[in-house]
């Protein structure tokens, strides 16, 4: 069966003062129906821009190439008008901070029903009835009352649940969750992840969870794609990537996480900072921060993500971590 979403060689160039610069550079991945896929990487690695491409919401002047095939529709180069039928209806988004993503002065009811009515052609009463169901489904107590309330009257975790209900209102097949738990504390995070996992199972929903925190992915994602400087560093099954990472960058991301068994162990953040747009160094984008960097890493061409095991791709020709013993999965968040 063909994957629901098939991204191949996606490139996104954003306009800057120094001309167009690649924010996403040759990214490929698949998402199946009923699967949670993780897109991980530090700030500026191109995660959000990848998602925005799939929604047709890139900043004005952005140029895309490659392909993103979604359930029979090619999204790259899709005309604006056609994109409006995909957006919200077939691909939905939940963004980082529900405090700012929900409209502060529109009622939850309006925000839940407006696109439902637009996309599904429901009557006001039918849309309201469905809205009540949706809120109950994401475990909002007293949904009838909630419809008349405003986002400011709910806690952060509640707001994120409401934002998920809003995203699911028009029955999309794919949900893009951009840092859905970043603004929340740990126990609330776990609840949101459990919710996404349940929706995946019950509704065959495909979810792309975008995060800079690999720990968030360990419990729910089946596949993980690690981005750095707009390029794929490593991608593969979550279990493999999180226990036997092969890319020094993935390793670094894991080391920067707190370990459940060794709470006292000091966190080891990756030294240095990720490159900004248009300032990605030649060769492997990660080489200036890499402990294993060799002279060949510092010169072009950039390493491409090539298969090293079934379903496991790596963009690190020296492959210094091959054959290392497995390590415990860092910070499982849903237990």
């Amino acid at each position: 069966m063909a994957p629901l979403l098939e991204v191949r060689g996606l490139r996104v160039a954003l306009p800057t003062r120094r001309g167009p610069q690649l924010a996403v550079d040759d990214v490929s991945f698949d998402v199946d129906a009923g699967e949670i896929v993780g897109l991980a990487g530090e700030s500026g690695s191109g995660k959000t821009m990848t998602a925005m491409t799939l929604l047709g919401l890139l900043p004005p002047g952005a140029r895309t190439s490659g392909s993103a095939h979604f359930a029979g529709t090619e999204l790259v180069g899709l005309r604006r008008r056609a994109f409006r039928d995909v957006r919200g209806r077939r691909i939905a988004m939940v963004s980082q901070d529900p405090a700012t993503a929900l409209h502060p002065i529109l009622t939850i009811g309006t925000q839940l029903t407006e696109h439902m009515r637009h996309h599904l052609g429901l009557s006001a009463a039918a849309a309201r009835a469905r809205a009540v169901e949706l809120l109950a489904d994401v475990r909002i107590p007293d949904p009838e009352q909630a419809l008349r309330s405003y986002p400011g009257q709910f806690s952060g975790g509640m707001r994120q649940r409401i934002a998920i209900a809003v995203a699911l209102a028009a029955e999309p097949q794919l949900l893009l969750a951009d840092e859905p738990t970043t603004a929340l504390d740990v126990t609330v995070q776990a609840g949101i992840l459990r919710l996404l996992d349940r929706l995946r199972r019950e509704k065959e929903l495909a979810v792309v969870v975008i995060t800079h925190d690999l720990g968030v992915l360990s419990a729910v994602a089946s596949r993980v794609h690690v981005l750095y400087g707009g390029r794929l560093a490593e991608s593969g099954p979550a279990a493999t990537l999180l226990t036997r990472p092969r890319h020094p960058y993935t390793r670094g991301l894991l080391d920067a996480l707190p370990h459940p068994e060794a709470a006292a162990a000091p966190l080891r953040p990756i030294p240095g900072a990720p490159p900004s747009l248009g300032a990605v160094p030649p060769g492997c984008p990660f080489h200036p921060r890499c402990a294993f960097a060799q002279p060949s890493c510092r010169v072009d061409p950039r390493p491409e993500a090539v298969p090293v095991d079934p379903g496991h791709r790596l963009a690190c020709p020296p492959d210094p971590l091959r054959g290392r013993p497995a390590e415990p999965v860092a910070a499982v968040r849903t237990s």
């Binding site: 039928d85 929900l102 407006e114 405003y150 009257q153």
Partner: protein, 367 residues
């Protein structure tokens, strides 16, 4: 009248309440309480204004007895005593203030030295004239300025925006007297399509008095030709008065719509696949209105000060001309009367702005 009158910016919209879950009560009750609080504050402010206005007259040199009674009557001790008693001038200053306040509450501002009529009679005649003009101008400004501002923001940096930038710049930077003379010359003198001044033609008699707004009175009593004439007479001074505020509202609407267009919740609205029209009108304009309303309030204030000039150019018998003449002649009771009226108008505008805030923004209503 000046634009530095006591129009203070209403409190900034409250930030969202603490994360703890709070239940909405039926909104109506809260809105009622919110309104009551605002009205009480407004009344308190009114009292404060009369106090300031009263104290100012205490500071200004000049004998109110001579001023009010004229040379002859002030030579008559009985008349002077009666006058001093009526206005409480024979009592201590705090009592005098209370008497003054009582008189103002009864609509008694004393006698005008120029018109030799009670100030209240003058005000009753001139206020509707000015209000009709100013309301016409603010409605025109909002109806033109806000939609154009939205257009400029939506088509940012495209030719529509460039053209509108010139329009708003011209509106705010061209001197009123110059626009007035230009419009007068072109539309009245050259083309003759609009009357050149006054509220009606000299041959016409005003409509039956009900509100003092000629358009409203003519409408109420079915005097259609008078209605047409009154409207035509409003156009020239109204548009001249509105040029500045159109530019101001256009500019400001553009800025606040642009600011909101960049917010996360607008991106979220777009991600829902809503038509752009719905995104702009519901998700962007609603929050933008909160600040646009504030500016419309300020704009109305600046219109009021603009009436002084425009009324004298277009011989509009309103408060602006009256204020100007009172100031020129140091007609204290008239000046005080006008000040109180202007202050009350400003307070009413502020109250209206606050109320509209509460209507638009639940965060204010519910906090």
């Amino acid at each position: 009248m000046s634009s530095s009158s006591p129009l203070e910016a209403p409190a900034a919209p409250a930030s969202p309440p603490a994360p703890a879950r709070r239940r909405a009560r039926p909104g109506r009750q809260r809105l009622g309480r919110f309104l009551l609080k605002r009205i009480a504050a407004g009344l308190l402010l009114c009292v404060g204004i009369t106090l300031v206005s009263f104290l100012l007259t205490q500071l200004v040199p000049g004998d109110p007895v001579t001023a009010n009674l004229g040379q002859q009557a002030s030579a008559d001790p009985a008349a002077v005593a009666a006058f001093r008693h009526q206005y409480g001038l024979d009592r201590p200053v705090p009592v005098q203030y209370l008497v003054y306040l009582g008189n103002v509450l009864h609509g008694d501002f004393g006698m005008s030295q120029q018109s030799h009529r009670p100030v209240s009679t003058d005000l009753a005649e001139y206020i509707p004239a000015t209000m009709e003009l100013a309301l016409f101008a603010i409605v025109v400004s909002i109806v033109i300025g806000v939609p154009l501002g939205i257009l400029a923001a939506v088509y940012r940096d495209r030719w529509v925006d460039q053209v509108l930038r010139v329009v708003s710049l011209a509106g705010v930077s061209m001197p009123t007297f110059w626009i007035a003379l230009l419009a007068f010359y072109l539309l009245f003198f050259k083309l003759g399509v609009l009357p050149g001044g006054g509220r009606l033609d000299p041959t016409e008699t005003p409509p039956t008095h009900t509100t003092g707004f000629y358009t409203v009175d003519a409408l109420l009593h079915g005097q259609w030709s008078l209605l047409g004439s009154a409207l035509l007479h409003l156009v020239l001074p109204g548009l001249v008065l509105a040029t500045y505020t159109v530019g101001m509202l256009l500019r400001f609407t553009r800025a606040s719509v642009l600011e909101i267009l960049g917010l996360d919740y607008v991106r979220a609205a777009r991600a829902k696949g809503l038509p752009e029209r719905v995104v702009v009108l519901r998700h962007v304009l609603r929050p933008a209105l909160i600040s646009i309303i504030t500016v419309a309030g300020v704009a109305f204030g600046s219109l009021l000060s603009g009436t002084v000039l425009v009324e004298s150019i277009f011989s509009w018998p309103g408060l602006g001309q009256y204020a100007y003449n009172s100031a020129k002649n140091l007609d204290l009771p008239a000046i005080m009367g006008v000040s109180v009226v202007v202050a009350v108008v400003y307070i009413v505008i502020n109250l209206l702005v606050d109320v509209l805030y509460g209507v638009i923004d639940p965060r204010i209503r519910l906090s």
